[in-house]
Amino acid sequence: MMARPARALLVGLAVVGAGIVVAALRVNQYVYFAGYVVLQYVVIATAWNILGGYAGYVNFGTPAFFALGAYTAVFLIQSTRAPLPVLILAGGLVSALLGLGIGYLTLRLRGVFFSIATLALSIVLQTMIINWEYVGGSRGLSVIRPSGPPFGSYVTFLFTVMVLLSVVAVTVARFIERSWIGRGLAALRDNEEAAECMGVPTLRLKLFATTVSGFLLGVAGAPFPYYVTFVEPNSAFNLDYAVNALAMPMIGGTTSWVGPVIGAVLLGTAQQLATVTISSEMNLFIVGVVLVAFVVLAPEGILGLVRRLRGR
C-alpha cells in the first residue's frame, strides 16, 4: 500500500527532472514556447476533468477561471512586483474562491443549467475586467518580465515551471480519482439522487470539485502574463480555452487522469503544428472534427477505445 504513492511521487519527480534537463539543454527556443502551451493545456484539461469528467458537471466557464488567475497575477505584478511562485499561488487561490462561490450558487442547478451559468460567469467577469483600468481594462497591459531568469531565458524558465505545475495537477487528479472522493464523485455523476441516498455528501463533494478545479485553472493562468507579456481581455477570456478544456478530456477519455493528459498532448501539439504549417483556420476546425468524431465513434475517448480493443 505504501509503495504506490511512493512510486507515483517518483514518477512525478522524474518528469520534473526531465523537464529541468530539457530546459538546461537549451535546445531550440521554439520547443519551449510550443511546449509551454501544450503543458498549459495539460493543466487546464486535467483541472476541467476533475469537475467535468469525474463529477459530470460540464463547465463552459474555463476562460473565466483561467483569466482570473492571469489577472490576479497582473494585479500583483502591478502592485507589488510579486515573484512568480506567489503569483501562481495567489492566482490559484483566487480562482479557487471563485470556484467555491460559483459552486455554492450554481450547483443546485443541474446538467445543462449549470453549464449555462458557467458560460455566463465568463461574460460577467470579462465585463468587469474591461472596466477595471488598473489591470489594463479594455486596452490591455504590457507586462515586463523580471530580468536574470534561471536557464538563460524567461520562457525556458516558464516552461520548467509549467512542467512542475502539470505534474502537480496530474498528481492531484490522480489522488482524487483513486480516493473515496473520486468514488463519491463517480457515484454522483451516475445518479445524484441514488448517491445522496447512499450517504454520499454530494453538495460537499461538488464544492470540493469546483474549488480544486478552479484552483488548478487559476494556477494555469497565473504565469500567462509573463508568457505573452501583454494581457488584454479578449485573449485572456478566449473561447479557445473553453473549447479545448472540454475537447481534450473528451478525446483522451474523461474517466481517468491519463485521459486529459493524452488529449492535451495530442490536440495541443496538433494545434501548435497546424498554426505554423497548414493554417490557423484549421486550428479550431481540427478540434471540431476530432471532437465530433470521438463523440460519435469513441464516446469514452482514446482510453475507452484502447480498453475496448484490449478487453473485447
Binding site: 514556447f33 486596452r139 478566449n238 505554423v276 490557423s280
Partner: protein
C-alpha cells in the same frame, strides 16, 4: 590485364562522373548559397477581428517583395516572406516569432498589424536585440523605450492625441466657434486611447464637455446612445469606435437626426471600401481621421500610383479590400524602409539597420518618413478628411478625388471644410 584495364577505365569513368557531379553539385550549392534568399518573417491577422486589414497588409508586403525581386532582390539575394496567421490573438505571437527566428531562421522581422499584436513581440525583439518595424501600433514603445523599434503609422511623437488633434484644431477654427463637446467611444483598446487624447485636447482648446461616456463593444443598438447625445445638444460630437460600432453610430445618427456642427473624429472603419460602399451618402459631412485618400496632394508621392495599380489589379483575386487606401500604402512603405536600410548599410546586422533607420529620412510611397521619439514618426501626419458629395453607394466614385477631401494637415490640404455638418449632409 585486359579485364583489369576495362575495370580501370570504368573506375576512372565512375570517379570522373562522381567528381563531375560533385563539382556540378557544389557549383549548385554555391549558386544556391549566393542566391540564398533573405527571409523576412512576420505574423499577420489573416483570421479573426483584424483580418479585414491584415489580409490587404499582407498583399502590400507581397507586392513589395515582387517589386524588389524584379529589381534583383536585396544585396543580390532574392527576398522571401515567411508568415503565419496570428488569428488576431496576442497569445499566439510569442510562439510564432520564436518559430520564425529559431526554426525558420528568418533574417529580418516585421510586426503583424495592430497594437495588440505588436505588444507581445516587443520583449522577444528586445531580448534578442532585433530591429522591429511595427505596423500600425499605438504607443507600443511608450513603456519599453526600445531604441530599435520603429512604427509606420503616422501618429507622431504623441500617439494618444494624434487621432483627435486635427479634428479639434479644425473645430476650433470654425465660425461660429463651436462651444460644447460630446465624446463617446467603445470599451476597447484603440477607442479608449483616442478618448484619453480627446479629453486632453478639449481642455487645451477650451471646449466644454457635456457628454463623456463609453459603451461595451458588443452593443448592437446605438440609437439610445445617440439619443442621449442629441439631448445634450453638443456642437461637436467626437466618436472613437471600431468598424461595427462606427457603422452603428452613423446609422443611428441618421435615424435620430443628430445635427451637431461637426461630427466624426476617430471612427475606424469608415476608411474601408466595404463600409464606404455600404454607407454611401450617409457619409457626407463626416469629418474623420484617415491615413490616405486619393487626393492630388497624396498622389504626388513617388511610386504610389504604380503601387495602387498593382494592388487593385491583385486585390480581387486575393479577395481583399478592392481600393486599398487605408493600410496597404503604409504596409508597403514599412518594408520599403527596411529594404532601403538593408541596401544602404549592405548588411543584415540588426544594430546597423536600426542605427541607419534612426538616422535617415526615407523616401517612400507615403511620403518622406523620419522616425523620432520612441520610434514614432518625428512629426505626426494623421489626416482629417471630410466626406463630400457622395452619391449612392457606387465604388467607382471613391477612386477619384473630391469624395474624401483632406482638410488637415495644412500641407496636404486638398479642399475646404463644409461647415456645419448639416450643410454637407445633403
Amino acid at each position: 590485364m585486359k579485364r583489369s584495364g576495362t575495370w580501370g577505365l570504368l573506375n576512372w569513368a565512375l570517379i570522373g562522373a562522381t567528381v563531375g557531379a560533385l563539382v556540378l553539385a557544389s557549383g549548385g550549392v554555391f549558386v544556391a548559397r549566393g542566391a540564398d534568399p533573405i527571409k523576412i518573417g512576420f505574423g499577420m491577422a489573416l483570421t479573426g477581428g483584424l483580418s479585414a486589414n491584415g489580409k490587404p497588409a499582407l498583399l502590400a508586403v507581397q507586392i513589395w517583395k515582387d517589386d524588389v525581386n524584379k529589381r534583383g532582390g536585396l544585396l543580390g539575394r532574392p527576398v522571401e516572406l515567411v508568415y503565419y496567421d496570428d488569428q488576431t490573438n496576442p497569445a499566439t505571437v510569442p510562439g510564432i516569432y520564436t518559430k520564425l527566428l529559431d526554426v525558420d531562421k528568418v533574417d529580418l522581422i516585421i510586426s503583424g498589424y495592430g497594437t495588440n499584436l505588436i505588444a507581445p513581440l516587443m520583449p522577444i525583439a528586445m531580448e534578442r536585440k532585433l530591429t522591429i518595424l511595427g505596423m500600425f501600433g499605438l504607443a507600443n514603445n511608450e513603456k519599453y523605450r526600445y531604441p530599435n523599434f520603429f512604427q509606420i503609422q503616422p501618429a507622431g511623437p504623441d500617439p494618444q492625441t494624434s487621432t483627435a488633434i486635427g479634428f479639434f484644431e479644425l473645430a476650433a477654427t470654425q465660425t461660429p466657434r463651436p462651444q460644447t463637446v460630446a465624446i463617446v467611444g467603445a470599451d476597447a483598446e484603440y477607442p479608449q486611447n483616442a478618448l484619453v487624447g480627446a479629453r486632453e485636447l478639449i481642455k487645451k482648446f477650451g471646449f466644454k464637455t457635456v457628454y463623456d461616456k463609453t459603451y461595451p463593444p458588443s452593443t448592437v443598438d446605438y440609437t439610445p446612445i445617440v439619443r442621449a447625445i442629441k439631448a445634450t445638444n453638443a456642437d461637436i460630437v467626437f466618436v472613437a469606435s471600431y468598424p461595427p460600432d462606427s457603422v452603428g453610430m452613423l446609422r443611428a445618427a441618421h435615424e435620430v437626426g443628430l445635427q451637431p456642427k461637426i461630427f466624426g473624429g476617430g471612427m475606424v472603419g469608415l476608411q474601408f471600401t466595404s463600409v464606404m460602399t455600404s454607407m454611401g451618402s450617409m457619409l457626407n459631412g463626416v469629418v474623420n481621421y484617415d491615413f490616405w485618400a486619393p487626393e492630388p496632394t497624396m498622389l504626388a508621392f513617388p511610386g504610389i500610383k504604380e503601387f495602387l495599380n498593382e494592388y487593385q489589379a491583385r486585390a480581387a483575386k486575393a479577395g481583399v479590400d478592392p481600393l486599398g487606401y487605408y493600410l496597404p500604402p503604409y504596409s508597403y512603405a514599412l518594408v520599403q524602409v527596411l529594404g532601403q536600410a538593408v541596401d544602404a548599410t549592405k548588411s543584415l546586422d540588426q544594430q546597423k539597420l536600426a542605427d541607419y533607420i534612426r538616422a535617415t529620412e526615407f523616401n517612400t510611397i507615403v511620403g518622406r518618413v523620419k522616425f523620432g521619439k520612441n520610434g514614432e514618426w518625428a512629426k505626426g501626419r494623421t489626416l482629417m478628411v471630410q466626406y463630400q458629395k457622395v452619391h449612392g453607394t457606387g465604388i467607382e466614385q471613391f477612386r477619384g478625388p473630391g469624395k474624401k477631401v483632406v482638410l488637415y494637415p495644412e500641407e496636404l490640404k486638398s479642399g475646404a471644410i463644409i461647415y456645419p455638418y448639416s450643410a454637407a449632409k445633403n
